[in-house]
């Protein structure tokens, strides 16, 4: 295939240029697929090689995986996975792998060179006890602040997956970072919500009404599903667990996981199965984007629009019900394909709903953007600077609103995306408006994709069967979720289990740059900005406002902040 040779040539030229620069530091080169190559490098050279791949060869950080491979060869392994985006799509994947000796669990931090690695490295410290030497941020990321000091859950010998240490106390002791000044008091209070009902603790540093900086503590709803999957489930069951990562866009995780296992085991799901997966993925995007555009309407005070968008969204839920038997597109995947075919009646019913949805969405979106308030409230607000975006590898409409036409469906085609006509949508405004417009336009692309797939379904089986699993084979799976690229990394294990499964949800890459998006905006815009990354934090629970000049700390209740965002009258920060 034309594109296959081009993509492997792309990968080869990246490998050559890295070999030319780092010579002896490159210890091993292995190919997983024509578009996937892994370079094992000397541990000391890790930051340089990752930085060179990232900034000099068009790399974007897709995920970082830690793996306890001491039982296999005495080391922990680190995998920095990058999407190498030079020239034309499709693009190859490059994994930089380094081994960390079991007796000396530390590695040189990549974050000072590539900021995008910051959360990943904090997580490696928490879950594997691997110390990133030189990482500026020494706080925990995933584990609760009162979790026992030397207990690293994802080490194979650490603990039973059901173990839950007793909480030490009620007090919040996470050190927030913000501008320093004499006598700035900080009193965490709460809990309350900021944009949607999910747990997270936000701290906004303000000067009067203007936000000068922000910090946040998330992972209150970390459930330890990686550990659960490794210990209790077989590889088919994990497809169902993967959907529980999110209540909105869960199916996309299931597909990414299934693709990862399928690639590791050398299985190809039949084309009909991939077409069905693609249809369901786009139905999921429809209802997810309509939800987000609805929330944006609500937050700018346009509640009638919000109600109507939700009414129309119901049509997407009906499509899901017709196609899968549930209001979410869940429970459809097995390794090797899907469990349910699409029949003629179902196809016709979905095509009819699509037509209705299309007409109504077009009309409602026109009404929404015509509301005088809408432009005024969203333009220039919550700017994601293109350079910040380049440094942090954010994904999805969040990134595409800042001028980067990056979309995994095009960059690394999977499913049926290279068989149907569609376009990557991007906008250049870098603001809340741009991100919302990207979603509005993507709704139409999704409608087109679903229609094309339904009309030209490849015939044949929907499930590949009769394959065998090779323990310790590694596979990468990815999807463009409504919120951006999801990446799943899998190492198969013995006994029909996964040895390691590392799902990386899109929003994980979107949180770190959010801090910069807050700066310079007013408190009244904070909910809009958070909602514009369409966060998936399984909801932002607490906001503490710290006035850096008056040295005052104040907690604003969720309802109050939301009211202020909608009405923009009677600031809660005034006495």
């Amino acid at each position: 295939m034309q594109s296959e040779t081009a993509v492997s040539q792309g990968a080869r030229s990246v490998v050559e240029s890295l070999r030319a620069r780092f010579g002896a530091a490159v210890l091993e080169e292995t190919w997983q697929a024509p578009d996937q190559v892994t370079l094992t490098v000397a541990l000391d050279a890790l930051p340089e090689v990752v930085a060179a791949a990232y900034y000099d060869c068009g790399g974007w950080l897709a995920t970082v995986v830690g793996n306890d491979e001491r039982g296999l060869h005495g080391h922990f392994a680190l995998y920095y996975v990058l999407s190498m985006e030079q020239g034309q799509a499709p693009y190859p994947w490059l994994t930089i792998r380094a081994l960390v000796p079991g007796h000396r669990p530390q590695f040189p931090s990549v974050t000072p060179r590539v900021p995008a690695a910051v959360w990943y490295e904090r997580e490696l410290r928490d879950l594997f006890g691997l110390e990133p030497v030189g990482l500026p941020d020494t706080r925990r990321l995933v584990l609760p602040d009162d979790w026992p000091e030397d207990l690293h859950p994802l080490r194979k010998d650490a603990m039973d997956y059901r173990y839950r240490p007793e909480p030490v106390g009620e007090a919040e002791n996470y050190p927030f970072v913000g501008p320093e000044g004499e006598g700035i008091g900080e009193v965490p209070l709460g809990p309350l919500h900021i944009a949607q009902e999910e747990p997270g603790h936000f701290r906004l540093y303000v000067d009067g009404e203007e936000i000068v900086d922000a910090d946040y503590r998330l992972f209150y709803s970390h459930r330890g599903i990686e550990k659960l999957a490794e210990n209790r489930m077989d590889y088919d069951q994990v497809t169902f667990l993967a959907e529980r990562i999110c209540g909105i866009c869960g199916y996309t995780h299931s597909v990414a996981y299934a693709h990862a296992v399928e690639r590791a085991a050398g299985i190809e799901a039949p084309p009909r199965a991939e077409a069905i997966r693609t249809i369901l993925l786009e139905v999921e995007r429809l209802h997810s984007h309509l939800l987000n555009v609805g929330v944006a309407a609500h937050l700018v005070g346009f509640d009638t629009g919000f109600m109507h968008l939700f009414r129309v969204r119901e049509k997407a839920m009906q499509m899901a019900e017709i196609l899968t038997g549930g209001r979410k597109t869940y429970g459809m995947n097995l390794i090797g394909g899907v469990r349910r075919d699409i029949l003629k009646d179902q196809k016709d019913a979905v095509l009819r709903l699509l037509r209705e949805l299309e007409t109504e969405v077009t009309e409602l979106v026109e009404i929404l953007v015509d509301t005088p308030n809408f432009y005024a409230r969203t333009r220039g607000v919550g700017r994601l600077d293109p350079q910040i975006a380049r440094d942090y590898s954010p994904v999805g409409p969040n990134l595409r609103g800042s001028g980067y036409p990056r979309d995994t469906r095009m960059g690394h085609p999977y499913g049926a995306y290279n068989r149907v006509p569609w376009q990557v949508i991007s906008e250049t405004g870098c603001d809340v408006l741009a991100r919302t417009l990207v979603r509005c336009r993507e709704i139409h692309e999704s409608i087109g994709i679903i229609r094309a797939c339904l009309e030209e379904m490849p015939p044949g089986p929907i499930l590949a069967e009769g394959f065998s699993f090779k323990p310790y084979a590694v596979g990468l799976g990815w999807t463009e979720a409504p919120r951006g690229e999801n990446v799943h990394w899998v190492m198969l294990g013995p006994d029909r289990k996964v040895y390691r499964w590392r799902p990386r949800a899109s929003t994980y890459n979107n949180w770190p740059p959010l801090r910069y998006m807050f700066r310079g905006n007013t408190v009244a815009d904070a909910p809009l900005i958070v909602a514009s990354i369409d966060p998936c934090y399984s909801c932002t629970e607490r906001v503490t406002v710290v006035d850096v000049r008056k040295r005052r700390v104040q907690v604003v209740p969720y309802k109050e902040l939301q009211r202020y965002c909608r009405e923009q009258k009677h600031s809660p920060l005034r006495d």
Binding site: F240, T304, E321, G325, Y330, D370
Partner: protein
């Protein structure tokens, strides 16, 4: 603004009177799994497939029973149980109204007798599963000889012992190892 008003008027009321009137679900809707005790073998295939462990099967050798149970609070309505059940003893229905005021009301439990091994007297497999295996073998190969039929009733340990006895020096002399 005018367009919006027109839209509002055009749309009219969309809220359904549920729960005062029923709502219709899609023909292939996946709702509450319904269990048919009379068909269940106690084989446990459903429990092994069930991703969230909503279905569990526990053996009590002491009491000689297999306890099958489902916790609807854990069920994700995936239908894997239906897919793997050899007898159709469990299948999804269209019922989605599962709310209960007490957690216990979300659990359905059943006990199945285990067969005792005529060799050692220990219970070793659900009686119905054993019967199902016997009947399937019969359907595939015709009635078993009395020797084979008796062997089927033995627990794995006694069967091994019997096989060892047959293939031992004494057994080989008698040619007991052949079918």
């Amino acid at each position: 603004m005018l367009r919006l008003l027109r839209k509002v008027v055009q749309t009219g009321q969309v809220t359904l009177p549920y729960p005062f009137a029923p709502v219709e679900v899609a023909p292939d809707f996946r709702g509450k799994p319904v269990y048919d005790f009379s068909r269940c073998l106690g084989c446990g295939a459903c429990a092994r497939a069930c991703p969230p462990q909503a279905i569990t099967v526990e053996w009590s050798a002491q009491r000689g029973v297999v306890t099958w149970s489902i916790h609807y609070g854990r069920c994700i309505f995936c239908g894997r149980c239906e897919e793997v059940c050899p007898t159709g003893a469990i299948g999804l229905s269209q019922d989605f109204e599962l709310a209960a005021t007490r957690a216990e009301d979300l659990v359905v439990r059943a006990e199945l007798q285990m067969a005792r091994c005529p060799g050692c007297g220990e219970p070793f497999a659900p009686a119905r599963e054993l019967e199902y295996v016997r009947a399937s073998l019969e359907a595939a190969r015709g009635a078993a000889s009395p020797v084979l039929a008796a062997r089927l009733q033995l627990c794995p340990r006694c069967r091994r012992r019997e096989a060892a006895a047959r293939s031992g020096p004494a057994g080989r002399r008698q040619g007991g190892g052949s079918r």
